[in-house]
């Protein structure tokens, strides 16, 4: 005889599996996971706030704090499903913030400028700056110092990108903080000029286009937000990625492949490709 609580857990597992499955198929979490099922456990789940009833049956209330439900009688599989559902809930939070940013950006050039700065800072900082070692030595860096110092100049470099199209960029940075996005403080970096010289940065800036730069920046901001919200399962990460591509294709009125091709074309025009591995520096996060 299976106990009522065991039956409740089994039903919850079923709801979680359907929910994850639907999200993987591309159904938005707010519409995902409806199943037709009956029995006393249904009401138990609804009464405890873990499920909701509707015309299509019942579904998991995924944004509840499911982890608090985990008890001793839960098996590993159930626990794992809770972790994935919780992760999707975090991804939905990221989506909500991205929606807000997108909507605010329509009326605020300042916010657009700050997104460009944050996105480019993050993209550059995580790149490792792969440059032919002779170029690095020529500017007086040892190879290990280059890999240590160059990423620290990322914010300086990102600011120069944004300044190409926006005014008062330093001040604009404040506008992004309300979305709980961390932005490092602007501190004068002595190495910045040398790094710019190695990268032929002035020439590189001439090649950058605003729409490509915005596309890169927005996708890197989304990636950064995902990471800071601790989204880690591929099912949840893929959901954020899919949403970002939807935003970008709508916003830039281009298909995904057009956006990607244009960025690639831009990268191909950047200076000294035989010395600087641009494709490893300027890239989409996924």
């Amino acid at each position: 005889m299976i106990s009522t609580s065991k039956k409740k857990i089994e039903l919850l597992k079923k709801l979680m599996e359907h929910f994850i499955d639907d999200v993987e198929k591309g159904i938005h979490p707010f519409q995902a996971g409806w199943i037709k099922v009956e029995g006393p456990e249904v009401n138990m789940l609804i009464n405890s706030g873990l499920a909701q009833k509707g015309e299509k049956g019942i579904r998991l209330l995924f944004n509840k704090e499911l982890q608090k439900e985990i008890g001793d009688s839960w098996d590993n599989e159930a626990e794992e499903l809770v972790y994935v559902c919780t992760d999707i809930a975090r991804a939905v939070q990221v989506e909500r913030i991205l929606n807000q940013i997108r909507s605010d950006m329509e009326h605020s050039l300042q916010l657009e400028a700050s997104i460009v700065v944050v996105g480019w800072w993050r993209m550059l900082e995580t790149s490792g700056f792969p440059v032919f070692v002779d170029e690095v030595l020529r500017e007086g860096f040892s190879p290990d110092k280059w890999y240590l110092e160059a990423p620290k100049t990322s914010l300086d470099l990102a600011l120069t990108v944004a300044k190409k199209w926006y005014d008062d960029v330093e001040k604009a940075l404040e506008s992004v903080r309300k979305f709980s996005i961390f932005v490092p403080s602007i501190v004068k970096n002595e190495m910045a000029d040398k790094v710019k010289k190695v990268l032929r940065w002035e020439k590189a800036l001439e090649v950058l286009s605003q729409s490509n730069s915005k596309a890169l920046a927005f996708s890197w901001c989304a990636d950064y937000l995902s990471i800071s919200k601790e989204v880690c399962y591929s099912e949840a990460v893929t959901f954020v990625q899919r949403r970002v591509w939807e935003f970008l294709t709508e916003n830039l009125r281009k298909s995904k492949s057009e956006i990607v091709d244009e960025v690639e074309q831009m990268i191909n025009e950047l200076p000294s490709p035989e010395l600087i591995s641009w494709a490893e520096i300027i890239r989409f996060p996924w």
Partner: protein, 492 residues
């Protein structure tokens, strides 16, 4: 199977003799049959294999029972030994008990429960089914096991013509007299009507390599053999399945698999795409897949900095793959694209005469002028690759160690009791002081990939334990917000 546009051309290395390994390789990988089978089954599987160093394949048993880890290899090794002994006239079968006795002696180092499990579930059903067939093996019958086949230009049909790609694989069994090629597995059930997942495709790929190698590159005594009319079989403990050779689906799988391998090797966006084309989902995971344990591993809540760690590691996996391409894939290209005579003439490959072979030990006579340097080099080279039979295209490749010397004769040990031999043996240092055929211990790079990937899953769900766990705390310092400081030092 996902839709992927076939590549126009597979780039092989243009420079084999003078090339400085750095950065993105100017050639494409030299894939293995396992790579292709994984890619054709599910792109996530080959993604894990190439970038995360998970060297398991979708056709393996899922790792739900640790006792069965390596069981497939033991099953194959024992059958190879059994058949070889019968073909040599050193074993006469009176009943299944003779085989059982041989197996228990062969597997004496394995714990009793695993040995019983292997016998009861896999070997005994196989023996009952095959007893008459193996008893009829004639003395001197040509049976070959674990033969490596490699070719830089394997042909596959495409759009009315052919496309060629490099491919490397190991054939479980070739029966020359019966004109059969066998792929053996412990997967499958007695009631199955089809071969286990992708095994038919696997044996077909191996056959394609054999058919693409020039006859002049076959082992001497196979030069008149036409492999194109050999029959292909998948053999489970419970059934044999004959595989259709002319299956257009297999060609389609192959082109798409190579396209995935190329994309994952060079294009960072492919990672996003593999997850769009994965073959299973949480609610409908394919438990028969050998990689299911890797795809659906739990990520514990701590360390909280796990996503940032993933971001950092993600950019390191591909360069680690490139390093393997420089160290290992390029070596594979060299073996089948450089002339053997040329390599011998400049002293990169040595040829010795096999004087005797027994109990896993060869006595090999090498040219007088090579004996001293080869023996001296054993101090720095502990492992060698030898070919006691065949060529780099089709032959028995096996790792060996030098164990002794009698004048011009070297004693070389291999980890197998029975292997096919010819009159001569080719000896390659795994890492020579001459760089042309040098290969580094490339598998260590794969271990780094796999260990990094495992670290992505390390952690705990208990916040108190996480606070005390040194690995979690270290990860939080490296990738998260925790300040790194020396603990246990009293503040003044």
């Amino acid at each position: 199977m996902s839709i992927r546009t076939p590549l126009r051309k597979w780039e092989r290395p243009k420079k084999l003799m003078e090339v400085y390994p750095s950065g993105r390789p100017p050639f494409y990988p030299f894939p293995t049959v396992t790579n292709l089978v994984n890619a054709a089954f599910c792109p996530v599987a080959v993604f894990h294999e190439l970038l995360h160093g998970v060297y398991q394949d979708v056709t393996a048993l899922p790792s739900t029972n640790w006792r069965l880890f390596g069981a497939g290899e033991l099953f194959q090794d024992f059958i190879a030994l059994l058949k070889s002994l019968i073909a040599k006239g050193e074993l006469y079968l009176t009943g299944i008990d003779t085989i059982r006795h041989e197996f228990f002696s062969f597997a004496k180092r394995i714990d009793d429960r695993t040995r019983d499990l292997l016998w009861d579930h896999y070997l005994e059903p196989w023996c009952r089914r095959k007893f008459e067939e193996i008893r009829k093996i004639k003395q001197g019958e040509q049976l070959f096991f674990e033969i490596t086949a490699s070719c830089a230009y394997v042909q596959f049909a495409h759009d009315g013509g052919t496309r060629t790609y490099p491919l490397l694989g190991v054939i479980d069994e070739i029966q020359i007299d019966n004109r059969k090629i066998i792929e053996r597995t412990i997967k499958g059930k007695p009631e199955d009507n089809d071969p286990p997942n992708m095994k038919d495709y696997q044996v077909w790929l191996l056959w394609k390599i054999l058919c693409s190698v020039n006859r002049s590159d076959y082992p001497e005594k196979w030069k008149n053999i036409d492999f194109s009319d050999f029959d292909l079989f998948v053999e489970t403990p419970y059934r044999d399945f004959k595989v259709t050779k002319h299956n257009p689906e297999f060609d389609k799988y192959t082109h798409e698999a190579y396209a995935w391998i190329y994309d994952l090797t060079f294009d960072r966006r492919a990672e996003w795409e593999v997850y769009q084309h994965k073959r299973c989902a949480y609610a409908a995971r394919r438990d028969e897949c050998g990689l299911v344990g890797w795809c659906y591993r739990r990520k514990q809540p701590y360390p909280a900095s796990r996503p940032e760690m993933r971001r950092v590691f993600k950019d390191m996996y591909r360069p680690l793959l490139w390093e393997q391409m420089w160290n290992y894939h390029l070596f594979q290209y060299k073996l089948v694209m450089l002339q053997l005579q040329a390599l011998e003439s400049i002293g990169l490959v040595s040829r010795g005469k096999i004087v005797s072979f027994s109990e896993g030990k060869f006595e090999v006579e090498v040219p007088a002028d090579q004996a001293d340097p080869m023996w001296a080099r054993r101090e720095v080279e502990t492992r060698y690759m030898i070919l006691p039979f065949g060529t780099f295209f089709v032959g028995k490749r096996i790792e060996a160690t030098f164990k002794g010397r009698k004048g011009n004769r070297l004693i070389i040990e291999v980890p197998k009791q029975e292997i096919p031999t010819s009159e001569t043996v080719l000896i390659l240092p795994v890492k020579s002081d001459l760089p042309i055929l040098e290969t580094q211990p490339w598998y260590l790079t794969r271990w780094i990939q796999r260990d990094m990937f495992s670290l992505e899953y390390a952690g705990t769900k208990d916040p108190v334990r996480a606070g005390k766990d040194s690995i979690v705390q270290m990860l939080e310092s490296l990738f998260g917000q925790k300040a790194l400081r020396r603990e246990g030092v009293e503040q003044s």
